[in-house]
């Protein structure tokens, strides 16, 4: 079949920010990752930052594929190591703003150590963590974010481990900006991304997102749309909420908002300060 010819009208406003030559993407219908990417592209446009000095790094997973669809310098690394890889990019060239876009398993389980240490150091990077409560790419296994009693393919009788509260983890590790939204909150998520992109230091935005293929199916929660409806009825915006209170249970209320926004010297600030001291002698 002849491909349809593109007219002015068909050019999507995000064509400049996405690698249209890689479309169709791999994500399932009803998946929330695409929404997060849309918000990201909109946030990038809104922030009006120098895109040539902006890099995106992903780990491995469904969310790990994001870097490959975004038209920036993009790096698709290995499972768990995105933040460490990004640390090298940023410290070797402090002019670069780095975004790490990856999944909950990638960032919080196998990459958990890099997550807390990059936060502690206050490396200048924005971490966008798509939390679908599950290891999606490998087929719906239990994750360190899976709520108690939730089913997953490797927790066939319900998850017995308490999950991490990602904003609390980020906050207590030293992140300067912490927010959580769901795939439903596109406009607020976009604004958060634009805000965090301009914020020097380690920022974390958690995006609660439906995995229609595994999480919803295994737990009989319907399709992507049903999940969006659930978010609509069960999220509450509470800016500035103490991150201790942000636990998520199975199908319980989800508190969203911007929880942390503070100033702290970045790693490079401190390094340069120390350096100017050594240069004197």
């Amino acid at each position: 079949m002849e491909p349809l010819r593109k007219t002015e009208k068909d050019i999507h406003p995000m064509d400049d920010l996405l690698r249209m030559d890689r479309i169709p993407h791999i994500w399932c219908p009803g998946c929330g990752i695409g929404t997060a990417v849309t918000a990201f592209a909109a946030g990038l446009a809104k922030a009006e930052i120098d895109l040539t000095k902006t890099c995106i790094v992903s780990g491995i997973g469904c969310t790990g594929r994001v870097a490959g669809y975004v038209k920036l310098d993009s790096f698709h690394t290995t499972h768990g190591r995105a933040i460490a890889f990004a640390t090298g990019i940023q410290v070797a060239n402090p002019d670069l703003k780095v975004i790490v876009f990856s999944g909950d398993g990638d960032l919080i389980s196998i990459g958990g150590n890099h997550f807390i240490h990059a936060a502690r150091r206050n490396i200048n990077m924005l971490v966008i963590c798509v939390n679908n409560f599950i290891y999606a790419m490998t087929g719906g296994q239990v994750a360190p974010t899976t709520p108690l009693a939730t089913y997953a393919t490797t927790s066939p009788f319900g998850c017995v481990e308490p999950p991490f509260n990602i904003p609390y983890l980020a906050d207590s590790s030293g992140a300067v900006y912490v927010a959580r939204w769901t795939a439903l909150h596109v406009r607020r998520l976009t604004n958060s991304i634009a805000e965090a992109l301009k914020k020097p230091g380690f920022s974390v935005i958690e995006v609660i997102s439906p995995c229609a293929m595994y999480y919803s199916r295994i737990n009989r929660l319907g399709d992507g749309l049903d999940m969006m409806k659930f978010y609509h009825d069960n999220t509450e915006i509470r800016h500035g909420e103490d991150t201790k209170n942000l636990d998520i249970g199975f199908q319980t209320k989800i508190i969203v908002g911007k929880f942390v926004d503070r100033e702290r010297p970045t790693y490079m600030d401190s390094y340069n300060k120390w350096l100017s001291g050594t240069k004197k002698d």
């Binding site: 490959g68 310098d73 790096f75 690394t77 460490a84 410290v91 070797a92 060239n93 240490h117």
Partner: protein, 417 residues
């Protein structure tokens, strides 16, 4: 290109090998080291951390070796020369992601000051048992370069060479030293900057829209750009085409999946003659050749002297480059000599490469050592003496019973029938 005088602490020093490697890295133009402390390599990291700031370089102590090596690859694509420093347990952790380094063709160096293993083993004493891990440690097919210095001076010189090789061939380069060399103090001469040859990064300078990140040059190595230059790079550990895009088209997959990994392997294999550096002596009339590397080479020199005092014609082949392995050289020698004698501080690694390349033409004798010390030169001399007398072709690697083994294990373990 010559080294930058700001990076070179010219002078004559008495320093240990680790410290010399730290100076070598800076002289080579290294701008970023991500590392995690581990004996016996810490002095190299400490040295770099101390001297780096004045040259505008950074040392960052990462949270673990997984992070160290990943940060180094990120820094490499940021456009700087970069290295990490480690030993056994940390080296094992790094294996996870070395394949990514090969795949995305990031130039970087790993300094491994080997210690006794396995596991925590003997943290403060020497070993040479990570040689095969260097070659095969990460999953999948790939090639790396590994070199083995034998003195503090060489830890300075060959650290620079390691950087040069990694820039030239865009692959991980391992400096496979060991505790003995790392902690040995000797005279080290750091020459003036203008005497130090530096391989610059192979930056692309053609028209922007024509750039293909994985399109190779004549020598199979592609040109590089760096993050932040406006190329919208797409760098992935997935099998990718010349644009860097994953090969997803099912029809093309079968055909083209072959292509990228083949080049990663061939860019080293086909350039092996240019990469490999050997040191040979006394080969003309040799009946036996001792093949060794690193600290074992220095010990072998004495063993060879002792054998020569008895009139034995013995050649000395030192592998400065261990990977890629000098297949051709060993095969060529195998047709001329009676036997190879291979002392190494492990229970048999490089010796099997020697056996592979000798294709049954010469006997191969291993002088093993469990680590935490070096060989006794008398063992080497006696093994040479045995090898020159042995007339039969023995179809397996012959293990020499060293004094140490006889003393400790009373001649070795036997299974009760």
């Amino acid at each position: 290109m010559k080294a930058n005088p700001r990076d070179v602490n010219t002078g004559t020093y008495y320093m240990d090998g680790d410290v010399a490697a730290g100076h070598g890295a800076l002289a080579a133009g290294c701008r970023f080291i991500g590392g995690y402390p581990i004996t016996p390599s810490t002095e190299a990291a400490e040295t770099f951390a101390r001297i780096a700031p004045k040259a505008g370089a950074v040392f960052i102590q990462m949270e673990d070796e997984l992070g160290s090596i990943a940060s180094v690859m990120g820094a490499s694509w940021s456009g700087v020369k970069t290295m990490t420093i480690t030993s056994g347990p940390g080296y094992s952790l790094m294996m996870e992601i070395i394949g990514l380094g090969a795949m995305i063709e990031a130039p970087f160096v790993i300094l491994n000051i080997q210690r006794g293993g396995p596991s925590t083993g003997v943290p403060t004493k020497t070993g040479q048992a990570d040689m095969m891990q260097s070659r095969w440690g990460s999953h999948g097919d790939y090639e790396i370069i590994a070199i083995s210095p034998d003195s503090p001076q060489e830890l300075f010189d060959y650290t620079i060479k390691a950087f040069n090789l990694s820039e030239k061939y865009r692959c991980p380069v391992m400096i496979m030293s060991d505790e003995c060399v790392g902690h040995m103090s000797e005279k080290v001469v750091i020459p003036p900057a203008e005497e130090i040859e530096i391989e610059p990064r192979r930056f692309y300078n053609g028209p922007k829209e024509k750039y293909l990140p994985f399109k190779p040059d004549q020598d199979l190595v592609p040109k590089m750009v760096k993050a932040g230059d406006g190329y919208n790079l797409y760098i992935t550990g997935l099998v990718h085409d010349e644009r860097g895009y994953p090969i997803t088209n099912q029809k093309e997959k079968g055909k083209r999946q072959q292509f990228p990994t083949r080049r990663l392997v061939d860019k080293i294999r086909l350039n092996a003659d240019k990469i490999i550096e050997l040191n040979e002596e006394g080969m003309d009339d040799a009946e036996v050749v001792v093949v060794s590397y690193g600290i074992s080479y220095r010990v072998a020199i004495r063993g060879i002297e002792k054998a020569r005092e008895k009139g034995i014609k013995v050649g000395n082949l030192r592998l400065i480059t261990v990977w890629p392995f000098p297949d051709k050289k060993i095969t060529e020698l195998a047709s001329k000599v009676k036997a190879f004698v291979v002392p190494e501080i492990n229970y048999g690694q490089i010796v099997f490469e020697v056996e592979r390349c000798s294709h049954g033409q010469a006997n191969v004798v291993l002088i093993p050592h469990g680590g935490a010390g070096v060989h006794n030169p008398d063992d080497i001399a006696e093994a040479i003496e045995y090898a020159v007398k042995e007339k039969k072709k023995i179809r397996k690697v012959i293990e020499w019973k060293t004094r140490l083994e006889k003393f400790v294990f009373e001649g070795g373990y036997k299974l009760n029938k």
